[in-house]
Symmetry: C2
DNA sequence: TTGTAAGCGTTATCAG
DNA sequence: CTGATAACGCTTACAA
């Protein structure tokens, strides 16, 4: 036992300084009500004087719980951190905030490919549960996380299938909101830029919402498909280009994501099409960049504060042994300049 | 000892299954070279069969190290997570990636005000060290972190003073790059939108770089001050407005941050000033939104991948007992549409 | 090359 | 209300 080790103030030292037993220190500091006020005070003072802080590893070892949630952010392989959809970053932030508000800490990991997929946070007692956030496009990642044992406590955002324990935006309602807004502004030939077959499940839901609103108004839904495997903005540019070249008339587009919408706007501008006069554009996500585009992008925003809270609450419920059902995050329309006033 | 507790596979179980002692299991799994190949194999198989995973809390308690770095993101009080400068999010991502590459995990906390400032990650053995990232505007936060004991291992990005152990962009060189670019494009009356007194230390360095480049070229530096306490974009709008109203001639502005530049661009547009023909604009930071403004913003980008690596490397060096010196992150100019081609 | 045994610093049970 | 004391599951010095 001749290891070299930094000297550490332990609860024994505090006990000695306060003239009580070590277990009393533990109880006093943990707020156990059975400890008398004067004792508690003496212990608190001694602890403060000695700069004592509980060793969380020892506490967790003993308790069997960590008070930590792991958050895995799934990226596209090789993708620059900077090009990650900003919505996910906002969600990361609100998740951390929600976790903190409930007394949990968050361990964050970015994962993008099979050589770094790893979800054994709970098995290793690094965390009590797992939140997985990220693009459904990375199917390998979802295949991996689907293999986690049934004892694993977890929730996810953006799951490609309903077999995952998910929290999601109310995509259907949001898409209807967007479509109805376009109709209200007098647009009639409204095309959806998106996909009904993308692993990005949300896209399908958004398309369905769009189609439902349009059909209800007596119009024909029309889908301009995005090409797979490209950056979203490029998908938007190409879809817009293809739409123009098709020769079919249209006066508005609903894009299933802001980045697609932004790409479309730039293509329309390049081809001399004026927004919002010739063509109206609505996106989905509420990313920051949309506020700076020309014109600023009208979009459907998810309440990402609610999203973070819902993720954390669901996970904590799961940890507590409940079997919570999937949840939807409410959305709202942010009217900006890409649709007529 | 009648606690209810979930049954857990321990290294004893693996030892029994493999027919070796518990310490041999520990060594075999840790890759200790003294263990013979056949034994190692038998242990690995048994562990796999039983789905055994090391309990990190026990391991850390014993080792005295956590293999974790804490990252505190300082926000403006009350600020929406979404309005956080996107550069910080990118930095968060690259820091996590750099940490993972070096075998560390990252515990993330967002903190904004005195009631949630907290830096005792190391004292509580939750982490081996601390990375603090955030706006210098939150002076209360920096006051707090300055009180951490000298034994605390930490580094920060965006410190308001040189007494902090920092990593920073090469602001001076970046500002010179931006200014020289404007000169090369034929702009002559170049005004800086910024501040030399902001707690945001980087702003002063950027102003100095701008002034140095301009002076070297035989021109007069000129500063249009931003008003404190407003959102950056609004600061940009007002500074641009004040500059126009001053009546003094100018043909370009160098803004000390992209968000200020973006605000200025929108004000120039509102007042009928054409960019880049009437006025050239350069920003600093390389935020995503700049790529979507009208016209897209020419800017100075820090290499945030390097930034993350540098933060992590410095911190690990500090943990290892070294006394590393401050480091600068290289920058580059991203030429886009807000300056003449 | 492997086994034995001593902690790491808590929390929780039990007794008083 | 408080004090002994037994784990929690691992890593590592030491012995064989």
């Amino acid at each position: 036992m001749a290891e070299k080790r930094i000297i550490r103030v332990t609860s024994f030292d505090v006990a000695e300084a306060a003239g009580v037993s070590q277990s009393t220190v533990s109880r006093a500091l943990a707020g156990d009500t059975s400890i008398s006020a004067p004792t508690r005070e003496r212990v608190a003072q001694a602890a403060a004087r000695l700069n004592y802080q509980v060793d969380e590893n020892a506490a967790r070892l003993r308790r069997g719980r960590t008070g930590t949630l792991a958050l895995v952010m799934i990226c596209r392989p090789g993708q620059d951190r900077k090009d990650l959809n900003p919505f996910y970053f906002a969600l990361l932030g609100s998740t951390c905030a929600a976790a903190a508000a409930r007394g949990y800490e968050v361990l964050v990991a970015f994962q993008d490919s099979p050589d770094n997929f790893w979800g054994h946070f709970q098995d290793r007692r690094k965390a009590d549960g797992l939140i997985v956030i990220g693009t459904s496009e990375n199917t390998a990642a979802w295949d991996y996380f689907a293999t986690l044992g049934p004892a694993t406590h977890w929730v996810c955002w953006g799951a490609p299938s309903d077999t995952f324990p998910w929290v999601r935006s109310d995509n259907h309602a949001g898409a209807m909101l967007a479509t109805q807004h376009l109709l209200d502004r007098g647009y009639r030939r409204i095309v959806c830029l998106g996909s009904e077959t993308s692993p990005q499940r949300q896209f399908k839901e958004r398309y369905d919402g769009y189609a439902a609103a349009l059909t209800a108004a007596g119009h024909e839904p029309r889908l301009q498909r995005i090409e797979r495997g490209l950056p979203r903005e490029e998908q938007g540019r190409r879809a817009a280009s293809a739409l123009i070249d098709s020769g079919e008339r249209f006066d508005a587009v609903f894009a299933v994501s802001d980045e697609i919408a932004l790409g479309a706007i730039s293509e329309f501008a390049r081809r001399g099409i004026r927004i919002p006069d010739d063509v109206g554009v609505v996106g989905f996500d509420g990313v920051r960049a949309g506020a700076w585009s020309n014109p600023p992008l009208t979009t459907v925003e998810s309440d990402f504060e609610v999203a973070g809270s819902l993720l954390v609450d669901r996970l904590i419920a799961t940890i507590g042994g409940e079997v919570p059902s999937p949840r939807r995050v409410p959305v709202r329309l942010a009217e900006r300049g890409s649709t007529r006033a």
